[in-house]
Symmetry: C2
Subunit: 155 residues, 2 copies
């Protein structure tokens, strides 16, 4: 499974929005209860700070390399940035693409000298909890957001 992270740019916005507008994906997002609007999405994108977004590219010799999801780190101005990741190509869930991508994100943060990383998962989202457990993230003692499980990893 060859996976690359390529920094996202304006040309990727429609694809990211299409993924985030799928109920199978947004049903676990804290605030979003409907497909995204372009204005909301574009506004978020142009105002984001201390954050990197990547496209997760799956290499595929039989067909073509393709974008299958997106990963991000935010709060890059803190010692424990926040992780975010989604696999937009739904039939690829649980096939290891997310794991490979997340390990690359963690490697990036390590290489930049961060102390660790953190993330939150909806308490109903058992698949993401299994994913975080498998990737070596630990449930934090300090659970600070209702209905969410906080994870932390120390490098």
């Amino acid at each position: 499974m060859n996976v690359k992270l390529i920094e996202a740019n304006d040309e990727d916005l429609e694809l990211i929005m299409a993924w985030r507008s799928n109920e199978l994906i947004y049903r676990f997002f804290a605030k979003q209860k409907a497909p995204l609007s372009w204005e909301e999405h574009f506004n978020f994108w142009t105002h984001r700070k201390d954050r990197i977004d990547w496209m997760i590219v799956l290499e595929d010799e039989k067909t073509k390399d393709r974008k299958v999801g997106t990963a991000n780190v935010s709060e890059l101005n803190t010692p424990y940035p926040t992780l975010g990741l989604l696999i937009g190509e739904i039939p690829l869930w649980s096939k290891g693409v997310g794991t490979t991508a997340l390990l690359k994100v963690l490697d990036y943060l390590k290489s930049k000298g961060y102390e660790g990383a953190k993330g939150w998962v909806d308490e109903k989202n058992l698949a993401s909890q299994r994913f975080n457990d498998k990737c070596g993230l630990k449930r934090d003692k300090n659970q600070d957001i209702a209905d969410k499980i906080k994870y932390v990893i120390k490098f």
Copy 2:
């Protein structure tokens, strides 16, 4: 509402797949009952014949021009090619983008000397039926597919 049609290419496949994998969009497709698989989508794409696919691009000076849907004509080897159209950016439904795009597709077919065009709409899909009625398509006397309404337009 400035809308352009740009012929789709391999780089658009992920976005088209993401739209077609949204239940709000595929629920009226005859055969599809779940998100598309890449292999199925890529196989369809590379084997299509007598067909053109366009990306529907909405010009937007305030943010950026963006891809909001896809239109196609198939059976281009017949006098009445088959129309297909979807607006992938769901909050744009019923805002006139599809109408403008379909009129451009019909202009294209006229300019190429076709006699007309046809299309089918799920009988539960009232929005698409209103759309077709508004665009000047007529319900055909010969209703040939179960649970579908056949439309025809003569140039």
